[in-house]
Symmetry: C2
Subunit: 204 residues, 2 copies
């Protein structure tokens, strides 16, 4: 059986990255979709692992060939999800985790109605804001930019299939894995079995 | 949070009843929907536990009052699912399991689009037929009637949300419980939380 395509979005700092890493570490079922970007690698970033680093020309060529599932521009740089990479993992039976923003997520939902989309939320906005501030790595200006982004994103939560409250990492990861497993039992993901059993029954 | 309404259908002898009992025994989350019927109680059957036994007049009165979620006629007797009983359990937070045939299931799906519908299948038609025969309690004629019913039902499997293969009882029960738990995370079942977090974020 092919793997499932899974969108993970969520408010910045809701713990999406940690959840994603936990799933990749704890289970064999998953693959992480490596994005393509035109921005320069930061120290320590590995091409093909953190991102596929390409030139603007290569990126635009990939768009032209319809080689991206979704793409967007941030701070004058392109970011996108390479189609071939995702398809190869799905064929291997891996469920592919896409860590993408709302705008990209909406593009993917439109193109792939079978996608499983999950929006990750903090249990509480106050706790969330405190966590953002307590990291101590960002200026108040950056934090408020994140808050404003979250205000825009909140209007799109109901476009997602599932809302996952990330209160405790262990619990949230188990729930996330559980809902993906459940999705494998969806009728739309079992057409081969349904055909088989129907044929067998009708041939009695 | 209110409970979920869950339809369990499946080929006769696919183990639906055993699965249902296991869920009711193993978890506190569930309630079984007791059907209303005009047929006479069999020895040992308890009114209000196995069925609500009523007269034909009482049943027709209940239909008129729109007091049934679905109903059907088998062998000149009415069978139906009382609305109030189901609603009361849902309000208590219990997920209500409806053990109903395909025709009743389609009625419920139409009236309650939020219902979770599961079709239970044997892994293999040959094994299934052997199991039916090995019970030794039914004539070949009764068995063939069940087979013919299954042939008609097979055409409706894809109207259900999920297909659950009942190979091993423990595994199937865990999967069934898992998919119901996952469904609680569906956006449509979390409107109260979404409103809360959205309001909080927008008020920062």
């Amino acid at each position: 059986m092919d793997g499932l395509l899974i969108i993970l979005s969520g408010f910045s700092g809701a713990g999406k990255g940690t959840l994603l890493k936990k799933l990749l570490t704890d289970y064999d079922d998953y693959a992480f979709s490596v994005s393509m970007t035109t921005r320069s690698p930061r120290p320590g970033e590995v091409d093909g692992k953190d991102y596929f680093f390409v030139t603007r020309e290569q990126f635009e060529e990939t768009i032209k060939k319809d080689g991206l599932i979704e793409h967007a521009t941030y701070c004058d740089n392109y970011y996108g999800t390479p189609r071939d990479y995702v398809y190869d993992r799905l064929k291997e039976g891996k469920s592919v985790l896409l860590d993408i923003e709302v705008q990209g997520a909406l593009q993917v939902m439109e193109k792939y109605p079978e996608v499983v989309s999950v929006f990750i939320c903090p249990p509480d906005a106050k706790v969330w804001l405190e966590r953002l501030r307590n990291r101590g790595t960002e200026t108040e200006e950056v934090i408020m930019r994140r808050v404003n982004q979250a205000k825009r994103e909140a209007d799109f939560i109901d476009r997602y299939d599932y809302v996952l409250i990330n209160d405790d990492l262990e619990t949230a990861a188990a729930k996330l894995h559980g809902l993906i497993q459940a999705r494998r039992l969806a009728t739309s993901n079992q057409t081969a079995f349904i055909e088989k059993i129907t044929k067998e029954i009708k041939n009695i």
